[in-house]
């Protein structure tokens, strides 16, 4: 059963209150019971005992009054006899009113019968004989028959007294027994209430304290950076809820820690990637290259490399499929291979083949890299390129009436990393002074506006022509700005652009 902390506290103290009320009720009940026993002794047994004594005394007094009357003929003694008779009848009635049972009733009835016989003897024999002047005869009758009846009355009275004594003794025993019971019950109830109170006072705070202690220990562990603690609390109250939240918080912190670690790793990867990119761009007389790059993330799959060979510049732009670390690793593999081959003086075909081989070895078939390798000779004004699955470069050519822009749709070969033989068909174009060849990655074409529409080749061509009056660096920056505006600032892919410019004389 799930109980809140408040419910537990209220329940605990409520139970204690109920126990205290119970204790009071039991105490009152027991005292009431004692009072009942006492009332039985004082209201029933003792009056009966007094009544029995009074009856016996009355008959003894009746006998004595009659004897005195026979001796002295004093009428007051006869009156005394009558009074005593009434007294006896009164107490006999009193005893009968109490509704005696069994032996007691039998004894009482015998006593009444003997008393009536005695009074009958006095009224019918003794007193008439005395009135006739036969006092001796009256004495004799009283001595013989009267004494027998008085003795019988005394015996019956004694037996009745014994019965009443037993009743009193039984009542006293009951009283003593009840007293012991009362004391025992009271002791038990007091001990029970005290124990319950003590258990509530100890267990509830102790469990609470133990659970809170577990939470404190876990909090200290978290402070040390330990997010693997499992807090098991099943108290069914707010503390359990707190433990559940605590465990969830640890998972969250662990994820944050992992993310922070990943961020750190990403930063390291980004640093490596930045270092791989060229810090200084080689130039040739009358020919220069302006690179522009905006990465959507810390690391990405876009890369470029520019090398001067004699008077020529060899410009390569590459785009690894996918995004993030995987794309960055592919870019690193390709770029490393290309740099190594260039370092050994390899020509374009070998550079492409070796990069393709490196990617085939390092990646799965669902990864590939597109590469555009352009060689420009400023003297002969000829550009030759190998397009390995990349988008065609764009040529900006100054005209008298403005700038002409066209995609150089030359022969296309296969992307790297898929096929053993990627192909080596070469594109060639003759350049004019002021020509600009724009190499770019698919981030420009695949930028989406909020409606999901792509920037596409036509917009790119249009924008490049429009921005052509600007110098190369500004053109590149403005072009990036155009795409960013188109995508409402939400660029999902890297933007890399190389503008190769054959300077006008």
């Amino acid at each position: 059963m799930r109980l809140s902390l408040r419910q537990k506290l209220v329940g605990g103290f409520g139970t204690l209150l109920v126990l205290i009320v119970l204790l009071g009720w039991v105490t009152l009940s027991l005292f009431g019971s004692l009072r009942t026993v006492q009332r039985r002794v004082f209201d029933t047994a003792l009056p009966r005992l007094v009544a029995v004594d009074e009856i016996i005394r009355s008959f003894t007094a009746q006998s004595a009054a009659i004897r005195g009357y026979l001796i002295s003929t004093d009428v007051s003694l006869l009156e005394q006899y009558r009074t005593e008779v009434e007294t006896a009848i009164e107490f006999e009635a009193l005893l009968l009113e109490r509704d005696p049972r069994g032996n007691e009733r039998e004894l009482l009835e015998n006593l009444i019968e003997a008393g009536e016989e005695f009074q009958d003897l006095i009224d019918t024999d003794v007193l008439p004989l005395a009135e006739q002047g036969q006092r001796s005869q009256a004495f004799r009758v009283l001595g013989q028959e009267g004494n027998v009846l008085i003795s019988r009355i005394e015996l019956l009275g004694e037996q009745l007294r014994l019965v009443q004594d037993r009743v009193v003794a039984d009542a006293e025993n009951t009283l003593r027994s009840r007293q012991s019971q009362v004391l025992l019950t009271l002791a038990l109830v007091i001990v029970g209430t005290f124990t319950a109170g003590l258990l509530l006072a100890i267990l509830l705070p102790r469990r609470l304290a133990r659970n809170l202690d577990a939470l404190v220990r876990a909090a200290r562990g978290i402070e040390r950076g330990d997010f693997n603690q499992r807090i098991e609390i099943h108290s069914g109250d707010e503390v359990e809820e707190l433990a559940v939240r605590f465990n969830a918080m640890q998972r969250g912190l662990k994820r944050l820690q992992q993310l922070a670690l990943q961020d750190r790793e990403l930063e390291i990867a980004a640093t490596i990637q930045r270092n791989l990119l060229q810090r200084s761009i080689p130039e040739s007389e009358g020919l220069h290259v302006v690179p522009i790059q905006r990465q959507a993330n810390l690391v990405g799959g876009d890369w470029y490399d520019i090398e001067r060979s004699g008077r020529c510049l060899s410009v390569i732009i590459g785009d690894a499929s996918g995004k993030g670390i995987a794309a960055a690793l592919m870019a690193t593999v390709t770029l490393s291979s290309i740099r190594a081959e260039r370092g050994m003086g390899a020509g374009p075909k070998r550079i492409i083949d070796r990069a393709n081989k490196a990617l085939l070895d390092a990646t799965e078939s669902d990864s590939f890299t597109t590469v555009l390798l352009v060689n420009v000779d400023p003297e002969s004004r000829v550009a030759r390129w190998f397009n390995m699955g990349h988008h065609a470069p764009f040529l900006l050519r100054p005209r008298v009436d403005g700038v002409e822009g066209t995609y150089l749709e030359g022969p296309s070969n296969r992307a790297l990393g898929w096929f053993e033989d990627p192909g080596h068909e070469e594109g060639v174009v003759e350049l004019q002074p002021g020509d600009r060849i724009v190499l770019f990655t698919d981030g420009f074409l695949e930028a989406k506006d909020p409606d999901g529409q792509l920037f596409g080749e036509d917009r790119l061509a249009e924008a490049l022509v429009k921005l052509a009056p600007l110098d190369a660096a500004n053109l590149g920056e403005q072009m990036v700005g155009e795409v960013e505006r188109f995508a409402a600032g939400k660029l999902d892919d890297d933007l890399t652009m190389l503008i190769v410019e054959l300077e006008a004389p």
Binding site: A320, K323, S365, F368, A415, F419, D442, G452, L454
Partner: protein
């Protein structure tokens, strides 16, 4: 990079299956296509046509996943063909060389006729 689900319908058609993704096939959603192809190979299906009719945009990750599917299905003794009429995708297939050796046709039925035996 958080993965998103893309709706993918799979239907049996003759002796091959047709996978029809609906929505952009990019780095965020391509996992679903990759998983669907992987599940088919596990279930013993090796001849698959991917219908790109309901894919308005596909980036290099999507193209990579298709090439990965071609390789895996061919290794399993089958093949992957493409049903596509979208110029943008067809241009991507041409530029990258993906289209060489892979059956690409406007309809599922035509694409299926180009399965490697």
């Amino acid at each position: 990079m958080s993965q998103q689900k893309i709706d993918i319908d799979i239907a049996q058609q003759g002796d091959f299956k047709v996978i029809k993704p609906t929505g952009d096939l990019d780095v965020y959603t391509v996992g679903s296509l990759r998983d669907a192809i992987g599940q088919m190979i596990e279930d013993g299906t090796t001849r698959v046509v991917v219908d790109l009719d309901a894919v308005p945009f596909m980036d290099s990750s999507g193209l990579g996943a298709l090439m990965g599917g071609v390789r895996r299905l061919r290794e399993a003794g089958g093949d992957l063909a493409i049903a596509c009429t979208r110029e943008q995708h067809l241009k991507l297939f041409t530029i990258t060389g993906f289209g060489e050796g892979v059956s690409i046709a406007p309809t599922v039925e035509e694409a299926a006729t180009g399965f490697r035996s």
